[in-house]
């Protein structure tokens, strides 16, 4: 797919959504408010008639992104521009900035911008019949009433593959798949232009997922809808999306057409995610990339590239000859040391249960052996300078001077991934990756479009 020439229907710029982590009078008074950075500066565009998939593991902010975009929660910062297509009722307006609209204007605008919720069980008022649930948007926007409204409700039920006789039933009388169809009918009632689907199939079993996905695709074709499809299931996203954005800790790590994202070159995070797709072939020998550690807290996201604490392809410091794998181990050691309060916390976390010893009673050789074992460091690094620096650090550790060890580590071993925030680097006409690996400025090399790792470009 080549660069789009048409105008995007929706443009998101620098969207941020921070949640207050502590609510308390005293904390507020002392200015000790902590913010959960659920969405932290997201930019993307949505083109008419396309499906943009947003993937990421749970807690990466994808649902918050969807909700902040259409102001179901008020975004903290950023702009969302909506360009009404010719068939919209607001077609005479060139471009509408959603975040600055008054709330009554925004309510009107919701006729074009609809939402499908993840949980078909809790997103419907249990006290209303299906007919009233689907008819509600018609009432709100004064689109139809009386017999016309009834007619439209029946029509919508048929469109989503239900029966008009279902209109008098209550949501709890339906299965999950049927309820999700009702949810879709409700969002279609106002004839929208854009629908945000917030994990619409995650709560359904696999056979029903396929039906709902096909329904969404058919509807898109029929009504020329644009979807933003939020999901954590990569196969689902691959199936339905034209373009995909991969989110990690509130930021978009990679954005491109589905083909671009699902094929090399990869963002290291996308690569790890893709490797986790289950494969039915028993003879398949692909490697799963296991990420070390857990997702860092969005309260205090890591500096530089947010993925550097877990990235298997993190860039080694230029001043040393270190393989990526060894640098990953050294970096793990460094990160553990930063958060540690005692020597025990540095070494004993993964030690065998029955052999836990108080590290303060050990001599230097023992500590060094423990550290090397714990962090999978090789017995001897190829670069003697690495060995020297490591020795200094372990000396400090033996003296139980954690602070000095941490500072020394900071001074000597530092990767651009830790310090510099990656920009979105174009790696093709339709593909952008936010990773230093693909940035010329870091000379480590692009990892080539063919997916080779390691081959450094001209230095």
């Amino acid at each position: 797919m080549s660069q789009r020439t048409e105008e995007p229907i929706l443009r998101v710029e620098g969207l941020k959504k921070y949640y207050r982590a502590n609510e308390g009078f005293i904390e507020n008074l002392l200015g000790r408010t902590q913010w959960v950075k659920a969405v932290d500066g997201v930019d993307f565009e949505l083109y008419p008639g396309e499906t943009l998939g947003i993937v990421g593991e749970s807690g990466c902010g994808k649902s918050s992104l969807g909700r902040a975009m259409f102001r179901l929660v008020e975004p903290t910062e950023g702009e969302v521009y909506y360009r009404p297509p010719p068939e919209s009722e607001y077609a005479d307006e060139a471009e509408v900035e959603l975040t600055s609209l008054s709330s009554s204007r925004m309510r009107d605008m919701r006729k074009d911008l609809q939402f499908i919720f993840q949980d078909p069980f809790s997103s419907m008022n249990p006290k209303m019949t299906v007919g009233d649930i689907i008819g509600e948007p018609l009432d709100i926007h004064g689109i139809a009433s009386g017999a016309e409204r009834q007619e439209r409700i029946y029509e919508l039920l048929e469109i989503v593959g239900l029966n008009s006789s279902h209109a008098n039933r209550f949501p709890h009388e339906f299965s999950g798949g049927q309820r999700q169809r009702i949810g879709i009918a409700r969002s279609l009632a106002v004839d929208p232009e854009i629908i945000i689907c917030d994990e619409p199939v995650s709560a359904l079993d696999v056979s029903v997922q396929a039906q709902i996905l096909n329904l969404l695709e058919d509807l898109q074709e029929e009504f020329n809808l644009s979807y933003i499809f939020i999901a954590h299931d990569l196969s689902v996203v691959e199936h339905i999306s034209d373009r995909v954005g991969v989110m990690y800790l509130g930021e978009i790590a990679e954005l491109g057409t589905t083909e671009d994202v699902y094929n090399p070159p990869y963002h290291p995070y996308s690569e790890a995610l893709l490797s986790a797709i289950p494969e039915p072939d028993p003879l398949w020998e692909g490697d799963r990339i296991l990420l070390s550690g857990t997702v860092p807290s969005p309260l205090d996201p890591p500096s530089g590239c947010r993925f550097h604490t877990r990235c298997p392809r993190v860039i080694p410091p230029e001043s040393f000859e270190l393989s990526t794998e060894n640098w990953r181990s050294v970096l793990n050691f460094k990160l553990r040391l930063q958060g540690a309060e005692s020597l025990e916390a540095v070494t004993a976390l993964e030690a065998d249960g029955d052999e836990v010893r108080d590290p303060s009673t050990m001599n230097r050789t023992e500590i060094e052996a423990l550290v090397r074992e714990e962090f999978d460091l090789p017995n001897e690094f190829a670069d003697p300078r690495v060995e020297d620096e490591l020795a200094t650090i372990i000396d400090s550790l033996t003296e139980e001077n954690l602070e000095e060890a941490t500072t020394h580590f900071e001074d000597v071993f530092s990767s651009p991934c830790e310090t510099d925030t990656p920009e979105q680097v174009p790696t093709g006409d339709t593909h952008k990756i936010a990773c230093h690996l693909y940035d010329e400025a870091y000379h480590r090399g692009p990892v080539g479009v063919d997916g080779d790792t390691g081959a450094p470009a001209d230095d």
């Binding site: 909700r67 259409f70 179901l72 925004m106 309510r107 009107d108 605008m109 919701r110 006729k111 609809q114 939402f115 919720f117 949980d119 809790s122 997103s123 419907m124 008022n125 249990p126 006290k127 209303m128 019949t129 007919g131 009233d132 509600e136 948007p137 709100i140 926007h141 009834q150 029966n163 006789s165 279902h166 209109a167 008098n168 039933r169 209550f170 709890h172 009388e173 339906f174 299965s175 999950g176 798949g177 049927q178 409700r186 106002v190 029903v208 797709i277 494969e279 039915p280 072939d281 003879l283 398949w284 020998e285 692909g286 490697d287």
Partner: protein
């Protein structure tokens, strides 16, 4: 062996054949026509509940009997001419030469429930007495419910400082037992019909307010409330179509049960001699007038009918009200009667 994905392909699966195959059963949806309101549905569930229906029948009978007990006239015009009660509830029958009656006559055909200490016909008094207890109950409940819903909705939906102030006020009210507050008010203002209403209404709304506020706090976080906002609904619509209807059922149940509580409260004040004027045909006041007979009656016999029938009237009314309250509770809980087999398969 390969690292290439997607070598396993499923072929030969023909979705059209599945769609066109013969139906497993001839089941089709059967509900058709206008959407039935949820209150209609609740009513049909309520009707199937025999205990609740029994309660409803008893309460309605008592209400109708109370209305029809004596003629009602408004400004001289008789609006209700029927008089079911055989005698004037206030008349001393021993003074009436046409009637053979003395004090504490035991139940007979002429006086099905006997007569009391002043030779008044107990049956007539009990029929008529329902007017006081039941009407005070209904008036108090409608007043307190209205205030409680308004205050509770404001506190629950808007939260913040408003909520904080209202809740602290409620804490103060809850610090006093309700009956004691009513007792103090009646003792201060004197016992008549409207001071009784005031005594039970003045602080009676606090319970509904707190109950509704709590329900609203949980309901307003539901996803369908966000869904309604996503559709573009205004605050007013969100509150009255989505939040309050889902928060109100416990309040309605509470109100029904409170009807019984108020009737007992009125009777209790009457029994303590603080309620309506002595001699009034109100159930509690009647019990008070005859409490001496519980210890020793004239001539060493105890006229059991003098206390049994007023007590039974209170008991029957309050029990029936509770049965209705439970029935309403079940009827509103729409999911309670869904069996596993009822779920549509997909």
């Amino acid at each position: 062996m390969s690292t290439e994905r997607g070598r396993i392909q499923i072929t030969g699966f023909n979705p059209e054949r599945v769609e066109e195959r013969e139906q497993l059963s001839d089941w089709v949806g059967d509900t058709k026509g206008e959407s039935a309101s949820r209150y209609q549905r609740a009513w049909s569930r309520f009707k199937r509940n025999r205990t609740a229906m029994l309660g409803l029948v008893i309460v309605s009978t008592m209400v109708i009997l109370a209305i029809l007990a004596r003629p009602i006239s408004v400004y001289g015009t008789t609006v209700q001419p029927i008089s079911l009660a055989p005698y004037d509830p206030a008349a001393r029958l021993s003074l009436d030469p046409e009637v053979q009656a003395g004090t504490y006559d035991s139940p007979s055909w002429d006086h099905p429930m006997g007569t009391d200490n002043e030779a008044r016909d107990l049956f007539s008094r009990i029929l008529y007495g329902g007017r006081y207890s039941i009407s005070i109950g209904f008036v108090v409940v409608s007043l307190t419910l209205t205030v409680g819903i308004v205050v509770g909705s404001i506190a629950g939906y808007y939260g913040g400082w408003v909520d904080e102030i209202i809740m602290r006020l409620l804490d103060v009210i809850f610090a006093f037992p309700g009956l004691v507050l009513a007792l103090v008010l009646v003792a201060m203002l004197g016992g008549n019909y409207w001071t009784m209403v005031l005594a039970f209404s003045l602080f009676g709304w606090a319970g509904y307010a707190r109950l509704l506020r709590g329900e609203i706090l949980s309901v307003k976080e539901e996803e369908y409330v966000m869904a309604a906002k996503a559709m573009g609904a205004r605050d007013r619509r969100v509150i009255f179509r989505h939040v309050v209807p889902n928060a109100i059922p416990p309040v309605i149940v509470q109100a029904t049960l409170a009807l019984g509580t108020v009737v007992i409260g009125v009777a209790a004040l009457g029994f303590l001699g603080l309620g309506l004027a002595p001699g009034t045909a109100e159930w509690g006041t009647m019990l008070d007038a005859m409490q001496a007979t519980l210890i020793q009656g004239p001539g060493g016999t105890i006229p059991w009918w003098a206390t049994l029938y007023p007590g039974a009237a209170i008991f029957l009314f309050v029990m029936s009200i509770n049965m209705i309250g439970d029935g309403i509770n079940d009827a509103f809980d729409a999911q309670a009667d869904v069996k596993v087999g009822d779920q549509g398969g997909q």
